[in-house]
């Protein structure tokens, strides 16, 4: 038992420990942000030395840490295409590829064309259609070029200039230009109908076109985080203007637009563009894409995608990517069925809806030889972070929340090691909510603060607060004798929340805190989170890597949403400069100020310093309580699927598979494909 | 060919129930003469209907024929013993409805409510004759007319619940006679009907019998009906035959005390002001309980009496 545990975590422990020590000063996101050229060269240097091989799985090609090379750099002159395209009435492949195509390094072997990948619809999130101007390196700290061949952030952090690659085309052959970025930034994000309140990252900004290939984002205040934002979120910042402008009031007169939208069965153009963009409607098959696959058929039950003939990436032998011809995603409504379908080889790639507890079943299915079960590692700091609603209308409750001793009591009441054994087969890590070990702001002590199991201490802390069991039912009441019960509402998505919280409620009841669980769905969670009605909720603590950490989801009241409803009033107060909401206590004001400064500073040292301060505050005060994190994530693939790394990091921060280049995944011979035409 | 179309000998039927074996028929023997009307009389439970059901071989479990034989001598086929027929014997199909047919007590329920009368009458023909549906319906219409139903072309398509009780019984009779059976068994056909209608039905049966010259086995408890209709009378009690004779013999000069009792219990014969006799008051139950074999007398009648009583009769 002990041995196996050790064996499994060697990689992880080594990885993060040495990374913090050895790499922290070397290749960090901040350098990249400050100067793109450094990152491009730096990445290359770094992966060359042996230390890196020890940190990251040996299997990963070092090219995954570097800026992509182009065909001319590697001297590739001959290009070829999938036989599927031979019969099509298309220009030759050389003309479809950009002037200097991007070369992607596969995991190991050069792949072969063909096959249809079957996935669950939600898996499309993780098997991404994510081509943005910038992208993330496999180390989750470095920003790399993608559609843009270079970028430059001005020293004051106010202007980001992007230079696109030459000859990029949408999947319908229409040239891809700066206008496609300007359309999103200026015409959507700064349109009052589309976004009544401009999102934080775009506030006081505009996009300006220099040429078809060059444009820049300019901001009133320093906004260096825009680079990280684009690296992570860039695919949402570019849309085919030539298609969407037909549905935008700036380009079509109102009456025509309204009647057109109404004819299509929509209430407003905003809803149409949103639904189309998020691929929820039949029309989602119409707009062209820059991604590896384009949708050709959309129904509420399934989506069919085929290769984009104008995709801009090739493999080292000059073959146009992707290798796989088509992807079919079906809407599997019953989540319970997905594990069974995965285990019986009915899906070629499946992970998003799988949980750690599913691993034995999947491993059993692996014996049939149809599938392989890879164990990746979730990047979530903890699988369930407990969120106190400090602004709840029940003032009695919030004043209790505000007691640090109360939060500490609740934290040490949790037997995290037992949770780890029961839910994670002992292969997770008991933790608090803090940065991911890969982060430059990670401090190990913050992760272990108040994680030791000490129910006696919890009881005495609660006693100190005057919470006593008056009526003898084993549960504590308020000092004035009123019953104390907390309702925890949560969505059972992604990480194993239901079982974790069931266990948590047992521990808390053991120290006398009455906690009630209620599973809710997205709409209800959102509604109640917005209204600040939830007394307590839980969400997995992602957004903890360097790319994402400055967004300040967990560390300070500057963001609220369905996933974070700890302090809505304080967030509002901060966002509106005190016009609405409530002024937070001084200690919270301080967090907001640090957060603002961290967001705006262009000084990498200062940023790390501020980040650590915020993390320390959380470790000391336990604004949120953590459970178990860095847990194993099953990834089920068809045994015929090649190019998927055996070990990977799983989560939203790195867009799940983005840096492992799904376009280079391929099917071994013998896979039938009837999906293409 | 014998004069009797049916000769029943020593027929015994038992019903096995939770409480033991009930002897429904014990050594029943009598003949049904050809072309005559034989009436079987007796009170409820005397075994009249069981006898009829035995002849049709439609006795339901737990009832069972345990012994005896019923020699059936139809004109159309060779004679055979009905009792000995196997359940799957093809002759059984001809027997039921073709050679022998039956009219039941309850005209209200003897017809299925979900089929038209035409359908149910024609079915009887279709079961036995190799004719087309149209021909069967024509024959059925013909028969319905003969049993006195008006406006047959319309009514043939109606359902039983659209008919009055008497009309329904006419339909049942039509159904029974449509194949021109050699024996017609009427199991209390008029009991459930109004008195006026009773008379009409009886007239109908008698007229048709004379017209078609079938043999009729007429089961009833009504001695008035017997007098009107029958040539020969069989008196039954508790599963036994007590007395057999011509209608004149039995009704005018009953030999068996039970028969006498039966006659005495008929209202109307009793002078005004006198109490109506019960059978038990005429003959003690114990007398009837004692079983004696049927003895054939000189005048051809048969009676089940103690040797003493028989001697007495002889002496007269």
């Amino acid at each position: 038992m002990k041995i196996s545990l050790a064996k499994f975590s060697i990689w992880r422990t080594l990885c993060w420990a040495s990374l913090v020590v050895g790499l922290a000063g070397h290749v960090v996101a901040d350098d990249v942000v400050a100067d793109s050229s450094v990152a491009r060269d730096g990445g290359g240097e770094n992966t060359a030395d042996g230390a890196n091989d020890a940190v990251w799985p040996r299997q990963w090609p070092r090219a995954w840490f570097e800026p992509v090379k182009t065909a001319s750099q590697l001297g590739i002159k001959e290009f070829s295409q999938s036989p599927r395209l031979d019969s099509k009435d298309l220009p030759p492949v050389e003309q479809r590829l950009p002037t200097d195509p991007v070369v992607v390094t596969p995991l190991a072997d050069i792949g072969r064309y063909g096959g249809t990948m079957r996935i669950d619809r939600n898996e499309w999130l993780t098997f991404p259609n994510v081509e943005g101007s910038l992208t993330i390196s496999a180390d989750m700290r470095t920003v790399l070029p993608n559609l843009a061949e270079s970028w430059e952030l001005s020293p004051d952090g106010r202007r980001l200039t992007m230079t696109l690659r030459e000859g990029l085309k949408w999947s319908n052959g229409v040239p891809h230009t700066s206008d496609d970025y300007l359309f999103v930034f200026n015409d959507l994000w700064h349109n009052e109908e589309y976004e009544p309140v401009t999102r934080r990252i775009a506030q006081g900004g505009r996009a300006v076109k220099v040429s078809d290939r060059v444009f820049y984002y300019e901001f009133e205040d320093p906004n260096p985080q825009i680079v990280n934002y684009i690296a992570h979120y860039g695919n949402f910042m570019v849309l085919p203007k030539h298609y969407y402008q037909n549905f935008h009031p700036a380009y079509v007169d109102r009456e025509t637009l309204n009647s057109k939208i109404a004819d299509m069965g929509f209430i407003s153009w905003v809803m149409f563009i949103e639904a189309c963009r998020l691929q929820r409607i039949d029309e989602s098959a119409e707009p062209p894409t820059l991604d590896a696959f384009q949708i050709v058929e959309y129904t509420p039950k399934r989506t069919r995608m085929v290769r984009n003939p104008y995709y801009f990436k090739i493999d080292p032998t000059g073959q146009q990517l992707p290798y796989i011809d088509a992807v079919v995603s079906q809407d599997i409504e019953s989540k319970e069925v997905i594990a069974a379908m995965s285990a019986t080889g009915q899906l070629d790639f499946s992970s998003y809806e799988l949980k750690t507890q599913d691993i034995p079943l999947l491993k059993l299915g692996e014996q049939s030889g149809d599938i392989r079960v890879l164990i990746w590692n979730r990047l979530h700091s903890v699988d369930v972070a407990i969120e106190f609603n400090y602004n709840h209308e029940d003032k009695k409750l919030t004043s209790l929340y505000w007691e640090r001793r109360f939060r500490i009591a609740l934290s040490v009441a949790l037997n995290r090691e037992e949770m780890n054994q029961i839910i994670y087969f002992g292969r997770g890590t008991p933790r608090q909510v803090t940065a991911h070990p890969s982060s430059s702001m990670f401090v190990p002590e913050y992760a272990t603060a108040y994680t030791e199991y000490d129910p006696d201490r919890a009881r005495s802390l609660l006693d100190e607060l005057g919470l006593k069991d008056v009526d003898g039912d084993g549960l504590r009441e308020y000092p004035d004798g009123e019953p104390l019960t907390i309702t925890l509402e949560f969505m059972d998505w992604e990480t194993p929340k239901a079982i974790t919280l069931e266990l948590l409620s047992v521990y808390w009841r053991e120290v006398g805190i009455d906690i009630r669980l209620k599973i809710v769905d997205m709409a209800l969670q959102t509604a109640r989170a917005h209204a600040g009605k939830m007394q307590m909720t839980g969400w997995h603590a992602d957004r903890v890597t360097d790319i994402f950490l400055p967004q300040m989801v967990w560390w300070a009241p500057v963001h609220s949403g369905f996933d974070n409803t700890m302090w809505n009033d304080w967030v509002r107060w901060h966002r509106t400069d005190g016009q609405i909401g409530t002024e937070p206590p001084a200690v919270i004001r301080e967090l907001q100020q640090w957060s603002d400064e961290l967001y705006a500073t262009v000084d990498p040292e200062r940023r790390i310093e501020l980040g650590k301060k915020l993390l320390e505050s959380n470790a000391r005060n336990l604004w949120t309580i953590g459970t178990v994190g860095l847990a194993p994530q099953p990834v089920v693939i068809s045994s015929k699927l090649r190019g998927v790394p055996d070990q990977g990091i799983w989560g939203w921060d790195n867009r799940w598979t983005l840096s492992y280049h799904p376009s280079t995944w391929y099917f071994e011979s013998g896979v039938a494909s009837n999906e293409y035409e | 060919m014998t004069d009797n179309v049916l000769e029943i000998r020593d027929l015994a039927v038992e019903f096995k129930t939770d409480t033991g074996i009930t002897h429904a028929l014990r050594d029943v023997s009598f003949d049904v003469p050809r072309g005559k009307v034989t009436a079987v009389v007796g009170e409820s439970g005397s075994g009249k209907s069981v006898t009829a059901n035995c002849i049709m071989r439609i006795i339901q479990p737990p009832g069972k024929i345990v012994s005896g034989d019923m020699m059936f001598s139809p004109t159309r086929t060779d004679p055979y013993d009905i009792v000995s027929l196997d359940n799957k014997d093809p002759r059984l199909v001809d027997l039921r409805g073709d050679l022998i047919s039956m009219v039941f007590q309850e005209p209200m329920t003897a017809l299925s409510p979900v089929y038209t009368v035409g359908n149910q009458v024609a079915e009887a023909i279709l079961c036995h004759r190799d004719v087309t549906e149209e021909e069967a319906w024509e024959e059925a219409a013909d028969m319905l007319t003969r049993v006195g139903i008006d406006d047959v072309p319309r009514r043939i398509h109606q359902y039983p619940f659209e008919f009055s009780g008497g009309m329904r019984q006419r339909v049942v009779i039509a159904m029974a006679l449509v194949c021109n059976p050699e024996v017609l068994i009427c199991d209390e056909p008029t009991t459930a009907l109004d008195v006026t209608i009773q008379a009409e039905i009886l007239t109908l049966i008698r007229d048709l019998q004379q017209e078609l010259s079938n043999s009729v086995l007429f089961i009833t408890h009504d001695l008035g009906v017997v007098a009107q209709l029958a040539d020969q009378v069989v008196v039954m009690y508790q599963g036994r035959v007590l007395e057999i004779g011509t209608v004149r013999q039995v009704l005018k000069e009953p030999l068996h005390p039970y028969t006498r009792g039966l006659l005495a219990a008929i209202p109307g014969i009793v002078p005004k002001g006198q109490r109506l006799e019960t059978i038990a008051s005429v003959v003690g139950d114990s007398d009837i309980e004692t079983a004696y074999p049927l003895t054939r007398l000189k005048d051809g009648r048969e009676v089940s009496l103690s040797p003493e009583a028989l001697r007495e009769i002889d002496n007269e």
Partner: protein, 371 residues
Amino acid sequence: MSELTIDTQIEAISPRQLAWIRFKRHRLAMVSGCFLILIYLVAGLCEFVTPYGTETRNVQAINAPPMSIHFVDNDGSFHLRPFVYGYDMHINDDTWMREYTENPEKRYPIYFLARGESYELWNLIESDLHLFTTRDGYIHLFGTDQLGRDVFSRVFYGARVSLSIGIVGVMLTLFFGVLIGGLAGYLGGLVDRAVQRVIEVLQSMPTLPLWMALSAALPVYWSPIAVYFGITIILSLFGWPALARQVRGRFLALREEDFVVSARLLGAGKMRIIFKHMLPSFTSHVIATATLAVPGMILGETALSFLGIGLRPPVVSWGVLMQQAQNYQVIVMTPWLLIPGLFVVLTVMAFNLLGDGLRDAVDPYSTGGQN
């Protein structure tokens, strides 16, 4: 069932005695009745009957299979006191499965009426006496769930909730059904027509989708006990029409009976006539019908809880237990978590058989009464 006891003092056979005699002939119904009495008894005393509480976890036995009871140990010697062997748990590195092997070293004898975990019976009587338990080690006759909780104990704690929902729900149904059906049948006319229409409408709606919609509308902050009653009320909301229809029919027939007419002529009030004269005359039918309605309630609760919109932890009901067992994994990996389902099946069957028996006993001519 107290209605069915025979008063031997009465010489003439009352209708109830007659019914009891008829009922006794239904052997299956008798067996079912005994089973139900037993399981209600066990559910009522589940703190005593089960060795552990609902939240007691055994971390050494996560998803452990049921233990078998032994009399003969590994050396072949016989012990009068039955015992179980403790488990050795090992997580297989390849399959990630928890593999359990019986360890002959860990022999845990079973003691009856022994001291164990302390509890409060009905939140009143404090005790630690259990029907059976072990002194050292642990005993999981039905195995354990994913948190290492004893399935045996949870099944019977769950029985308390599920079975009481059946009874409480049927009581509510009865109340609504008899009241509404009775009024409609007695008053007739406009009221009757309106009730008829409502019954028709409610009966023509698929119940489960409506239950789903209503359960989803229960406020999240409701306490478990409030949710319990909420669910019960929702379940009975669509149960009463069938009963009301039947009651109405009986009322219509009874209304013309002599004793009712005479009561009316004597000037008795409507309510008095209904409750004093008419209701008692068909109590037994109502009881039989109510018995047949219980399974629907129990199945309804399991279905809603199974869908996650009924009861929820820490309340333990059969439906809540089944919710854990709702996926393919359970059948393949931990089939013993389906044991609560077995109890649902047995109980529902028992109620059906008992109801049939009762109905035959009180009304031998009704359809379906041939068993």
